[in-house]
Symmetry: C2
Subunit: 159 residues, 2 copies
Amino acid sequence: MIMIFNFKKETDVKNKEKNLFQNYLSTHKFKHSKQRKGILEIFLSIDRHLTAEELYRAVKQKYPSVGFATVYRTLKLLCATGLCRELKLESGPARYEHLYGHKHHDHLICTGCGRFVEVIDPEIERLQQKLSKTHGFLPQEHRMELYGICPECRNKNNG
Amino acid sequence: MIMIFNFKKETDVKNKEKNLFQNYLSTHKFKHSKQRKGILEIFLSIDRHLTAEELYRAVKQKYPSVGFATVYRTLKLLCATGLCRELKLESGPARYEHLYGHKHHDHLICTGCGRFVEVIDPEIERLQQKLSKTHGFLPQEHRMELYGICPECRNKNNG
DNA sequence: CGGTAAAATGATAATGATTTTCAATTTCAA
DNA sequence: TTGAAATTGAAAATCATTATCATTTTACCG
């Protein structure tokens, strides 16, 4: 018998992320609850920079009994697993971005529409390291956000 | 009669800052209250990256009747005047830094002791502009914080 | 000066985001 | 299956900040 499996690549990736999370829970002796699975599932289904509240609302649609606090708690776990990064921006609530399969990057943020673009400039990275060392610091991490107006918003305002 | 004035340079600078603030108030038809003068005076006397609460406490020592809200309100005015910049960091309350006489700069922050070092790298600045433009953005501003361990803390942990 | 409109103040309540608490429920190893 | 320990949802607490509002101050005007 020949069986042809037609997993979509996307699903493959999500399964890897699910496995990483299950693994994280196991190795830290945390329990595998329905809620944690459900929240991860919804998190994975939305590849945007969400706030906790936005994720909560999305989770509610499929799993109405889940509470706000559990979403927050699970986001912390996802961050600890390395699937997610918490971004504290200039204003507004924290946003959570997908990390799996994303290399380290910084952000270009449109002050008009709030759009996020992930950017990376190896030369800047190198100079940041150098700058830290110049001051005798042992570099750990950094954050860089570039604010500006994206092409669409520029057109909108001119038109 | 010969009079020898021996103004300290420091005092000179502070007077300039005071004048700038008075000027800002006048041109915006804001009133020149005791509280505003007092808060500026204390702000100028502490050249560190303070939180609103730290400033409030310092103000209280000399002017016990000043309220928390007025400190917040005055900090906004100081920012508007350009004497002060509000920094929203990864964690904790906002910090306020002195801007007068400080060129644009970013921060190197010690994760051990919380020390701030003001840094600037023209090459990084240039690359940031370029990076924004590469993505079609009209650059506005940016924030960059480099986290690491300062020389003192490195020694402490090794000793 | 004294009167007065507008602005500023301090105290306090309200807000928004996040965290903690706690009784009830669920998980999971034995 | 059972029971200890972890997790949950709801609600209260917290923390930083902002808004409200009655009272006081400021600044201008005669």
